[in-house]
Protein backbone atom coordinates (compact mmCIF):
# COMPACT_ATOMS: atom_id res chain seq x y z
CA UNK A 1 0.00 0.00 0.00
CA UNK A 2 1.12 3.51 -0.79
CA UNK A 3 1.12 6.09 1.94
CA UNK A 4 -1.50 8.82 1.62
CA UNK A 5 0.94 11.65 0.77
CA UNK A 6 2.75 9.55 -1.80
CA UNK A 7 -0.51 8.52 -3.42
CA UNK A 8 -1.57 12.15 -3.54
CA UNK A 9 1.72 13.18 -5.13
CA UNK A 10 1.40 10.43 -7.70
CA UNK A 11 -2.14 11.49 -8.51
CA UNK A 12 -1.15 15.14 -8.92
CA UNK A 13 1.76 14.09 -11.12
CA UNK A 14 -0.55 12.09 -13.37
CA UNK A 15 -3.08 14.91 -13.59
CA UNK A 16 -0.48 17.56 -14.39
CA UNK A 17 1.15 15.36 -16.95
CA UNK A 18 -2.19 14.54 -18.52
CA UNK A 19 -3.09 18.22 -18.73
CA UNK A 20 0.17 19.04 -20.48
CA UNK A 21 -0.02 16.12 -22.88
CA UNK A 22 -3.75 16.08 -23.42
CA UNK A 23 -3.67 18.64 -26.18
CA UNK A 24 -0.74 17.34 -28.26
CA UNK A 25 -1.71 15.06 -31.11
CA UNK A 26 0.02 12.79 -33.56
CA UNK A 27 -1.40 12.30 -37.05
CA UNK A 28 -2.17 8.70 -38.02
CA UNK A 29 -0.66 8.92 -41.50
CA UNK A 30 -2.28 6.03 -43.29
CA UNK A 31 -5.80 7.11 -42.43
CA UNK A 32 -5.46 10.85 -42.71
CA UNK A 33 -5.80 12.97 -45.81
CA UNK A 34 -4.61 16.43 -46.61
CA UNK A 35 -5.27 17.71 -50.08
CA UNK A 36 -7.52 19.66 -52.37
CA UNK A 37 -10.22 19.42 -54.99
CA UNK A 38 -9.67 21.33 -58.22
CA UNK A 39 -11.21 21.18 -61.68
CA UNK A 40 -9.74 20.14 -65.02
CA UNK A 41 -11.84 21.02 -68.06
CA UNK A 42 -14.82 21.49 -65.76
CA UNK A 43 -14.46 18.09 -64.12
CA UNK A 44 -13.38 17.87 -60.48
CA UNK A 45 -10.37 15.87 -59.32
CA UNK A 46 -8.95 15.25 -55.86
CA UNK A 47 -5.28 15.46 -55.00
CA UNK A 48 -3.66 14.37 -51.74
CA UNK A 49 -0.29 15.16 -50.26
CA UNK A 50 1.26 11.87 -49.16
CA UNK A 51 3.85 13.57 -46.97
CA UNK A 52 3.22 16.28 -44.46
CA UNK A 53 4.13 17.07 -40.89
CA UNK A 54 1.38 18.34 -38.68
CA UNK A 55 2.14 19.67 -35.24
CA UNK A 56 -1.25 19.86 -33.60
CA UNK A 57 -1.94 21.09 -30.10
CA UNK A 58 -5.63 21.37 -29.51
CA UNK A 59 -7.94 21.11 -26.56
CA UNK A 60 -11.56 22.18 -27.11
CA UNK A 61 -11.66 23.37 -23.52
CA UNK A 62 -8.49 25.40 -23.74
CA UNK A 63 -8.50 27.03 -27.14
CA UNK A 64 -5.93 29.62 -26.13
CA UNK A 65 -3.28 26.89 -25.77
CA UNK A 66 -3.97 25.52 -29.24
CA UNK A 67 -1.50 25.73 -32.08
CA UNK A 68 -1.36 24.21 -35.56
CA UNK A 69 1.82 24.08 -37.57
CA UNK A 70 1.57 22.05 -40.75
CA UNK A 71 4.35 21.62 -43.30
CA UNK A 72 3.47 19.97 -46.60
CA UNK A 73 5.88 18.26 -48.95
CA UNK A 74 4.76 19.53 -52.37
CA UNK A 75 6.51 16.75 -54.32
CA UNK A 76 4.26 14.19 -52.62
CA UNK A 77 1.15 15.37 -54.47
CA UNK A 78 -0.95 12.50 -55.79
CA UNK A 79 -4.07 12.88 -57.92
CA UNK A 80 -3.99 9.34 -59.37
CA UNK A 81 -2.60 10.69 -62.60
CA UNK A 82 1.15 10.41 -63.14
CA UNK A 83 1.12 13.02 -65.90
CA UNK A 84 -0.92 15.55 -63.98
CA UNK A 85 1.13 15.05 -60.80
CA UNK A 86 4.30 15.66 -62.75
CA UNK A 87 2.74 18.72 -64.37
CA UNK A 88 1.76 20.25 -61.04
CA UNK A 89 5.42 20.40 -59.99
CA UNK A 90 6.39 22.52 -63.00
CA UNK A 91 7.41 26.18 -62.57
CA UNK A 92 3.99 27.45 -63.80
CA UNK A 93 2.25 25.51 -61.03
CA UNK A 94 3.73 24.68 -57.62
CA UNK A 95 7.31 25.22 -58.83
CA UNK A 96 8.44 22.43 -56.56
CA UNK A 97 12.18 22.90 -57.21
CA UNK A 98 12.11 26.44 -55.84
CA UNK A 99 9.35 26.00 -53.30
CA UNK A 100 9.37 22.41 -52.05
CA UNK A 101 7.24 23.09 -48.97
CA UNK A 102 3.96 24.77 -48.13
CA UNK A 103 3.19 25.73 -44.56
CA UNK A 104 0.27 26.73 -42.38
CA UNK A 105 0.82 28.31 -38.97
CA UNK A 106 -2.17 29.14 -36.82
CA UNK A 107 -2.66 32.49 -35.12
CA UNK A 108 -6.08 32.09 -33.58
CA UNK A 109 -8.61 29.41 -32.65
CA UNK A 110 -12.31 30.00 -32.18
CA UNK A 111 -15.34 27.93 -31.35
CA UNK A 112 -18.11 28.31 -33.94
CA UNK A 113 -20.69 25.79 -32.67
CA UNK A 114 -21.13 22.46 -30.98
CA UNK A 115 -18.05 20.51 -32.01
CA UNK A 116 -17.16 23.02 -34.69
CA UNK A 117 -14.24 25.40 -34.66
CA UNK A 118 -12.26 27.65 -36.94
CA UNK A 119 -8.55 28.03 -37.04
CA UNK A 120 -7.15 31.22 -38.54
CA UNK A 121 -3.56 31.46 -39.61
CA UNK A 122 -1.01 32.19 -42.27
CA UNK A 123 -0.80 29.93 -45.27
CA UNK A 124 2.40 30.05 -47.31
CA UNK A 125 2.59 28.49 -50.76
CA UNK A 126 5.26 29.43 -53.32
CA UNK A 127 6.61 31.90 -50.78
CA UNK A 128 3.35 33.85 -50.86
CA UNK A 129 1.78 34.19 -47.43
CA UNK A 130 -1.91 34.86 -46.99
CA UNK A 131 -4.43 34.85 -44.19
CA UNK A 132 -6.35 31.64 -44.22
CA UNK A 133 -9.23 30.30 -42.14
CA UNK A 134 -10.10 26.63 -41.90
CA UNK A 135 -13.46 25.82 -40.32
CA UNK A 136 -13.42 22.28 -38.95
CA UNK A 137 -15.32 19.67 -37.02
CA UNK A 138 -13.68 18.04 -34.05
CA UNK A 139 -14.75 14.71 -32.63
CA UNK A 140 -12.93 13.07 -29.78
CA UNK A 141 -13.04 9.55 -28.41
CA UNK A 142 -11.14 7.88 -25.59
CA UNK A 143 -8.42 6.74 -27.92
CA UNK A 144 -8.18 9.55 -30.41
CA UNK A 145 -9.74 12.35 -32.35
CA UNK A 146 -10.73 13.30 -35.84
CA UNK A 147 -10.41 16.72 -37.44
CA UNK A 148 -12.35 17.38 -40.63
CA UNK A 149 -12.22 20.68 -42.42
CA UNK A 150 -12.82 22.31 -45.80
CA UNK A 151 -12.00 25.77 -47.05
CA UNK A 152 -12.27 27.53 -50.39
CA UNK A 153 -9.36 29.32 -51.90
CA UNK A 154 -8.22 30.51 -55.31
CA UNK A 155 -5.13 29.11 -56.93
CA UNK A 156 -4.30 32.53 -58.34
CA UNK A 157 -3.92 33.90 -54.80
CA UNK A 158 -0.73 31.88 -54.62
CA UNK A 159 0.33 32.34 -58.26
CA UNK A 160 -0.39 28.70 -58.97
CA UNK A 161 -0.83 28.65 -62.73
CA UNK A 162 1.14 31.49 -64.25
CA UNK A 163 1.28 32.74 -67.85
CA UNK A 164 -1.83 31.79 -69.86
CA UNK A 165 -3.09 29.60 -67.00
CA UNK A 166 -3.54 32.73 -64.90
CA UNK A 167 -6.53 33.86 -66.95
CA UNK A 168 -7.68 30.63 -68.55
CA UNK A 169 -10.36 28.73 -66.61
CA UNK A 170 -9.60 25.32 -68.15
CA UNK A 171 -7.91 24.55 -64.84
CA UNK A 172 -10.49 26.07 -62.49
CA UNK A 173 -9.56 29.03 -60.29
CA UNK A 174 -11.56 27.79 -57.32
CA UNK A 175 -9.81 25.20 -55.22
CA UNK A 176 -11.20 23.53 -52.14
CA UNK A 177 -8.72 22.53 -49.48
CA UNK A 178 -9.61 19.29 -47.71
CA UNK A 179 -8.35 18.19 -44.36
CA UNK A 180 -9.31 14.92 -42.71
CA UNK A 181 -6.94 13.98 -39.93
CA UNK A 182 -7.15 11.00 -37.62
CA UNK A 183 -5.21 11.74 -34.47
CA UNK A 184 -3.90 9.92 -31.45
CA UNK A 185 -2.65 11.39 -28.21
CA UNK A 186 1.03 12.08 -27.88
CA UNK A 187 2.64 10.52 -24.78
Amino acid sequence: MMSAPRAATALIFILVNAAAAASDWIVIKNRSQLGFVATYDGVGFTARFENFDAGIRFDPKQLETGRFDVVVDISSVNSDSADRDQGMLEPEWFDMKQFPKARFVSTDLRRTGAGTFAVAGRLTIKNITRDFVLPFEWSESVTGARLQGKADTRRTDFEIGTGDWKTDPIIGFEVKILVDLYLERKH
Partner: protein, 190 residues
Protein backbone atom coordinates in the same frame (compact mmCIF):
# COMPACT_ATOMS: atom_id res chain seq x y z
CA UNK B 1 -29.39 9.19 -105.36
CA UNK B 2 -31.08 6.46 -103.39
CA UNK B 3 -30.31 5.96 -99.76
CA UNK B 4 -29.81 2.24 -100.02
CA UNK B 5 -27.12 0.46 -101.97
CA UNK B 6 -28.03 -0.97 -105.34
CA UNK B 7 -26.47 -4.00 -107.03
CA UNK B 8 -23.78 -1.92 -108.57
CA UNK B 9 -23.52 1.29 -106.59
CA UNK B 10 -23.27 2.56 -103.06
CA UNK B 11 -26.35 4.30 -101.70
CA UNK B 12 -26.50 7.72 -100.12
CA UNK B 13 -26.13 6.58 -96.53
CA UNK B 14 -23.05 4.46 -97.19
CA UNK B 15 -21.49 7.28 -99.21
CA UNK B 16 -22.14 9.96 -96.64
CA UNK B 17 -20.75 7.78 -93.87
CA UNK B 18 -17.68 6.81 -95.94
CA UNK B 19 -16.72 10.36 -96.84
CA UNK B 20 -17.63 11.92 -93.53
CA UNK B 21 -15.52 9.41 -91.64
CA UNK B 22 -12.72 9.67 -94.24
CA UNK B 23 -12.57 13.46 -93.85
CA UNK B 24 -12.70 13.26 -90.07
CA UNK B 25 -9.95 10.66 -89.87
CA UNK B 26 -7.64 12.72 -92.06
CA UNK B 27 -8.45 15.74 -89.92
CA UNK B 28 -7.66 13.73 -86.80
CA UNK B 29 -4.22 12.79 -88.11
CA UNK B 30 -3.39 16.48 -88.32
CA UNK B 31 -5.11 17.41 -85.05
CA UNK B 32 -3.42 14.51 -83.21
CA UNK B 33 0.05 15.56 -84.30
CA UNK B 34 -0.52 19.23 -83.58
CA UNK B 35 -1.91 18.43 -80.12
CA UNK B 36 0.95 16.09 -79.22
CA UNK B 37 3.63 18.56 -80.26
CA UNK B 38 2.00 21.71 -78.91
CA UNK B 39 3.75 23.16 -75.84
CA UNK B 40 1.93 22.62 -72.55
CA UNK B 41 -0.70 25.35 -72.31
CA UNK B 42 -4.48 25.81 -72.09
CA UNK B 43 -4.53 25.63 -75.91
CA UNK B 44 -2.92 22.18 -75.82
CA UNK B 45 -5.63 20.93 -73.48
CA UNK B 46 -8.30 22.40 -75.77
CA UNK B 47 -6.71 20.81 -78.86
CA UNK B 48 -6.90 17.48 -77.04
CA UNK B 49 -10.50 18.12 -76.03
CA UNK B 50 -11.35 18.52 -79.72
CA UNK B 51 -9.22 15.54 -80.68
CA UNK B 52 -10.96 13.32 -78.14
CA UNK B 53 -14.46 14.60 -78.95
CA UNK B 54 -14.04 14.10 -82.70
CA UNK B 55 -12.42 10.72 -82.02
CA UNK B 56 -15.41 9.50 -80.03
CA UNK B 57 -17.71 10.87 -82.74
CA UNK B 58 -15.78 8.80 -85.30
CA UNK B 59 -16.22 5.75 -83.08
CA UNK B 60 -19.98 6.25 -82.99
CA UNK B 61 -20.19 6.90 -86.75
CA UNK B 62 -18.06 3.80 -87.44
CA UNK B 63 -20.36 1.62 -85.33
CA UNK B 64 -23.35 3.10 -87.12
CA UNK B 65 -21.69 2.46 -90.45
CA UNK B 66 -20.95 -1.17 -89.62
CA UNK B 67 -24.51 -1.71 -88.44
CA UNK B 68 -25.80 -0.17 -91.67
CA UNK B 69 -23.50 -2.31 -93.79
CA UNK B 70 -24.97 -5.34 -92.06
CA UNK B 71 -28.52 -4.16 -92.83
CA UNK B 72 -27.84 -2.99 -96.38
CA UNK B 73 -25.84 -5.44 -98.53
CA UNK B 74 -22.95 -3.81 -100.44
CA UNK B 75 -22.86 -3.72 -104.24
CA UNK B 76 -21.28 -6.69 -105.96
CA UNK B 77 -17.54 -6.66 -106.33
CA UNK B 78 -16.17 -6.19 -109.81
CA UNK B 79 -17.19 -9.32 -111.71
CA UNK B 80 -13.94 -9.62 -113.64
CA UNK B 81 -11.64 -9.23 -110.69
CA UNK B 82 -9.39 -12.19 -109.91
CA UNK B 83 -9.83 -13.94 -106.57
CA UNK B 84 -6.64 -12.52 -105.00
CA UNK B 85 -7.80 -9.02 -105.80
CA UNK B 86 -11.19 -9.54 -104.18
CA UNK B 87 -9.51 -11.15 -101.20
CA UNK B 88 -7.14 -8.21 -100.83
CA UNK B 89 -10.04 -5.75 -101.09
CA UNK B 90 -12.07 -7.65 -98.52
CA UNK B 91 -9.17 -8.00 -96.08
CA UNK B 92 -8.06 -4.39 -96.35
CA UNK B 93 -11.63 -3.16 -95.90
CA UNK B 94 -12.02 -5.35 -92.81
CA UNK B 95 -8.76 -3.92 -91.45
CA UNK B 96 -9.97 -0.38 -92.15
CA UNK B 97 -13.14 -1.06 -90.16
CA UNK B 98 -11.05 -2.53 -87.37
CA UNK B 99 -8.79 0.52 -87.32
CA UNK B 100 -11.80 2.88 -87.24
CA UNK B 101 -12.82 1.20 -83.98
CA UNK B 102 -9.43 0.41 -82.46
CA UNK B 103 -8.01 3.89 -83.00
CA UNK B 104 -10.57 5.75 -80.87
CA UNK B 105 -10.84 2.91 -78.33
CA UNK B 106 -7.07 2.97 -77.75
CA UNK B 107 -7.29 6.75 -77.36
CA UNK B 108 -10.07 6.33 -74.83
CA UNK B 109 -7.89 3.83 -72.95
CA UNK B 110 -4.96 6.32 -72.87
CA UNK B 111 -7.25 8.97 -71.51
CA UNK B 112 -8.80 6.73 -68.86
CA UNK B 113 -5.47 5.23 -67.76
CA UNK B 114 -4.02 8.74 -67.49
CA UNK B 115 -7.06 9.62 -65.36
CA UNK B 116 -7.99 12.66 -67.40
CA UNK B 117 -11.67 13.48 -67.73
CA UNK B 118 -13.41 12.92 -71.05
CA UNK B 119 -16.10 15.42 -71.86
CA UNK B 120 -17.61 15.22 -75.31
CA UNK B 121 -17.46 18.74 -76.79
CA UNK B 122 -17.41 20.06 -73.24
CA UNK B 123 -20.94 18.79 -72.70
CA UNK B 124 -21.31 15.09 -72.05
CA UNK B 125 -19.15 13.40 -69.47
CA UNK B 126 -18.03 9.94 -70.61
CA UNK B 127 -16.92 7.27 -68.14
CA UNK B 128 -13.41 5.88 -67.81
CA UNK B 129 -13.08 2.47 -69.44
CA UNK B 130 -9.97 1.37 -67.51
CA UNK B 131 -8.62 2.34 -64.08
CA UNK B 132 -5.79 4.86 -63.66
CA UNK B 133 -2.55 3.07 -64.49
CA UNK B 134 0.65 4.64 -65.83
CA UNK B 135 1.98 1.40 -67.39
CA UNK B 136 -1.28 0.78 -69.21
CA UNK B 137 -1.26 4.40 -70.36
CA UNK B 138 2.20 4.00 -71.91
CA UNK B 139 1.13 0.77 -73.62
CA UNK B 140 -2.04 2.34 -74.98
CA UNK B 141 -0.03 5.30 -76.28
CA UNK B 142 2.20 2.86 -78.12
CA UNK B 143 -0.86 1.11 -79.60
CA UNK B 144 -2.49 4.41 -80.60
CA UNK B 145 0.67 5.55 -82.37
CA UNK B 146 1.22 2.13 -84.01
CA UNK B 147 -2.37 2.10 -85.23
CA UNK B 148 -1.78 5.49 -86.76
CA UNK B 149 1.07 4.14 -88.89
CA UNK B 150 -0.86 0.99 -89.74
CA UNK B 151 -3.80 3.13 -90.81
CA UNK B 152 -1.52 5.32 -92.93
CA UNK B 153 -0.19 2.21 -94.70
CA UNK B 154 -3.71 0.84 -95.22
CA UNK B 155 -4.88 4.15 -96.62
CA UNK B 156 -2.00 4.37 -99.07
CA UNK B 157 -3.06 0.94 -100.31
CA UNK B 158 -6.75 1.91 -100.21
CA UNK B 159 -6.46 5.22 -102.08
CA UNK B 160 -3.88 3.71 -104.42
CA UNK B 161 -6.29 0.90 -105.25
CA UNK B 162 -9.17 3.31 -105.83
CA UNK B 163 -7.06 5.38 -108.22
CA UNK B 164 -5.72 2.26 -109.93
CA UNK B 165 -9.29 1.08 -110.56
CA UNK B 166 -10.20 4.43 -112.00
CA UNK B 167 -7.12 5.22 -114.06
CA UNK B 168 -5.65 1.87 -115.01
CA UNK B 169 -8.60 -0.49 -114.88
CA UNK B 170 -11.03 2.19 -115.96
CA UNK B 171 -13.85 0.52 -114.04
CA UNK B 172 -16.54 2.03 -111.83
CA UNK B 173 -15.12 1.16 -108.38
CA UNK B 174 -14.19 4.75 -107.56
CA UNK B 175 -17.13 6.45 -109.24
CA UNK B 176 -19.68 4.25 -107.52
CA UNK B 177 -18.47 5.59 -104.19
CA UNK B 178 -18.39 9.22 -105.35
CA UNK B 179 -21.29 11.52 -104.51
CA UNK B 180 -23.98 11.95 -107.13
CA UNK B 181 -23.48 8.88 -109.30
CA UNK B 182 -26.08 6.21 -108.78
CA UNK B 183 -25.08 4.03 -111.70
CA UNK B 184 -21.61 2.82 -112.48
CA UNK B 185 -20.57 4.84 -115.51
CA UNK B 186 -18.69 1.97 -117.06
CA UNK B 187 -20.83 -0.86 -115.79
CA UNK B 188 -21.32 -3.27 -118.71
CA UNK B 189 -24.91 -3.26 -119.90
CA UNK B 190 -26.59 -6.53 -119.03
Amino acid sequence: MTLRNSDHSWGGIAKVLHWLIAAMILGMFVLGWIAVNYPMSPTKIKLFTWHKSFGITILMLALLRMAWRFLDPPPASSAHAPVWERQLARTSHALLYLAMIAMPVSGWIINSAANFPLKLFGLIRLPDIVPADKTLQTQAEFVHLSLFWILVALLILHVGAALWHHIVRRDDILTRMLPGTTRGAKEPVE
